[in-house]
């Protein structure tokens, strides 16, 4: 994989993918994609002309509402609350998920308990269930939201890190053993770097899922954040605000994906490709 810079990695895939070279076909493909975007906006606008505004506001109205959004400090502060919820939840989920995954690997007697009972159970438990239980336990506040999002993210992190641990190259480990007898050194110099791509995949998935879930959590269990705003707008049939918030999240997630995750993924792929 020499010139990965020319490669293109598709959306939410987490496995390192083989980059393809950009040719003339790619260029016209981009053009068609832009055309499609314009066409979709046009259809949206046309449709919004026929149906009542509470069902489907036009792109113009939604865009104006988004501008309000950016300029109003109140709305921006709600956005920060949501980002705060997500950051804390991802952090907690990483700690707990990693503890589960590492325990399954390094404390072998617990392997079956974690791999066949705990992780599948957490994985199958409905997100809404955690949310409602948290509501009953903690009431309407930050704790409820963070708890619900964390519980949903834990199995995702655990599964990814566990997969990484299972893929650990035994030859590498053996080589490490012949260089250093200190378990700590082998851990930081070999295990952690080898796990990096999996940590990154877990982070990327967690980020995507947490944005979706945090809104639900805030809608039912929060007294602040974008989901709370969404709930207020829903009760007032303020469809323009609903669209504006959704559009805002779409833009935010896509920007993070394009500017942050995609370039980092490319570097990780280049660094860790075994080809």
């Amino acid at each position: 994989m020499a010139k990965s810079g020319a490669g293109r990695l598709s959306g939410a895939r987490t496995t390192p993918s083989v980059p393809r070279l950009i040719g003339a076909r790619h260029f016209s493909g981009t053009r068609i994609a832009h055309l499609f975007t314009l066409l979709a906006l046009l259809v949206w606008w046309l449709y919004s002309q026929v149906v009542p505004v509470y069902q489907m506001p036009g792109p113009g109205a939604v865009f104006l509402r988004m501008i309000d959004f950016v300029t109003s400090t109140y709305l921006l502060s709600q956005l920060w609350v949501s980002i705060y919820h997500i950051t804390v939840a991802i952090g907690l989920a990483f700690v707990i998920g990693c503890v589960l995954a590492f325990m399954a690997r390094f404390v072998p007697v617990t392997r079956m308990l974690i791999d066949t009972v705990l992780t599948p159970f957490l994985n199958a438990f409905a997100g809404i269930g955690w949310l409602f239980l948290a509501l009953l336990w903690f009431g309407l506040n930050h704790t409820t939201v963070i708890f619900a999002v964390t519980m949903i993210l834990i199995p995702l992190v655990a599964i990814n890190v566990r997969a990484g641990l299972q893929e650990l190259d035994e030859d590498m480990m053996e080589m490490g053993l012949s260089f250093a007898r200190s378990g700590g050194r082998r851990f930081t110099k070999i295990v952690l770097p080898l796990l990096l791509p999996y940590f990154f995949a877990a982070l990327r998935i967690s980020f995507g899922v947490s944005w979706k879930v945090v809104l639900t959590a805030e809608l039912f269990g929060g007294n602040a954040g974008l989901g709370y705003l969404l709930n207020v707008a829903r009760q007032e049939f303020d469809t323009e605000t609903i669209f504006a918030i959704i559009a805002f999240i779409l833009v935010f997630v896509v920007i993070c994906e394009q500017l942050l995750f995609r370039p980092v993924q490319r570097r990780v792929d280049r660094r860790f490709s075994r080809a």
Partner: protein
């Protein structure tokens, strides 16, 4: 730090012990707590049992299962159509991967739920629309990956052996793509149960999601627990009985 293993017996013992300890800890924590805060394991088990003999609750679970299955099938067909389009007209791949997929991937699920209710009111259509919209990106990612994995040489070989498109599809493309489709199906089915229940909270007056929200609104923690456990049970049983054998069958074909 080479991989250590423990004997199967010891692992099994720890597993059983762990589960027993967890349940005992739960019972201990619930002792003395009012039922609406933390119901004990026995109360929850009784509530779960009600799903097996009360026809009304059974119907709620049944209708949820029906909606989830319908949504997964619909989403898979849509994803296959889109991925098929990419394969047939490769010029569309930018449009579908970087526009449609990105859009659906980034769209918040509650957004769909709220919009679904605004557009279709409270109905089965709303629930299925919302669920399809939520799981479509997961199906699409797998369908695209599956079609991309088809070896062009294999395709050529197929071409030289038969001109019949249907036969080529049935004997060559399908077995090659099936592992990806089925793993996508399994993921989508799991997500549908977990996240897409949101759809029923807003858009339905029946089903497990509705049951959950009703239990929550009257602070019936026992029922909330029971609904969650019933969901886990339905998911595990259907996965074990239908999806796992299907996945195994087709991966053995490879």
């Amino acid at each position: 730090m080479h991989s250590k293993t423990a004997s199967l017996g010891a692992q099994r013992a720890v597993t059983v012990l762990g589960v027993v300890l967890l349940i005992a800890g739960w019972a201990w924590a619930a002792r003395g707590q009012p039922e609406y805060v933390l119901p004990g394991p026995v109360a929850v088990l009784q509530a779960v049992a009600r799903f097996f003999y009360e026809p009304q609750l059974m119907a709620q679970a049944g209708i949820s299962l029906f909606r989830v299955v319908l949504s997964v099938v619909a989403a898979m067909i849509l994803a296959l159509t889109l991925a098929g389009l990419v394969r047939r007209f490769s010029i569309l791949d930018e449009t579908i991967e970087r526009r449609i997929l990105t859009f659906f991937n980034a769209f918040p699920s509650v957004g769909w739920a709220i919009l679904g209710v605004i557009w279709f009111q409270i109905s089965n259509t709303t629930v299925i629309f919302v669920q399809v919209a939520i799981i479509l990106p997961f199906c699409l990612i797998n369908a695209l990956a599956g079609f991309r994995q088809i070896d062009p040489d294999m395709d050529e070989l197929g071409h030289s052996l038969t001109r019949n498109v249907w036969r080529r599809f049935r004997l060559l493309s399908l077995p090659l793509v099936a592992p990806f489709l089925l793993s996508g199906l399994r993921v989508a089915y799991g997500i549908c149960w977990k996240i897409a229940l949101v759809a029923e909270l807003f858009g339905a007056s029946s089903g497990l999601g509705f049951q959950l929200s009703r239990a929550q609104s009257v602070s019936d923690a026992t029922m909330v627990f029971a609904c969650c456990i019933v969901i886990v049970l339905i998911f595990l049983v259907t996965d074990l009985l239908f999806l796992k054998p299907l996945v195994q069958r087709f991966s053995a074909n490879q």
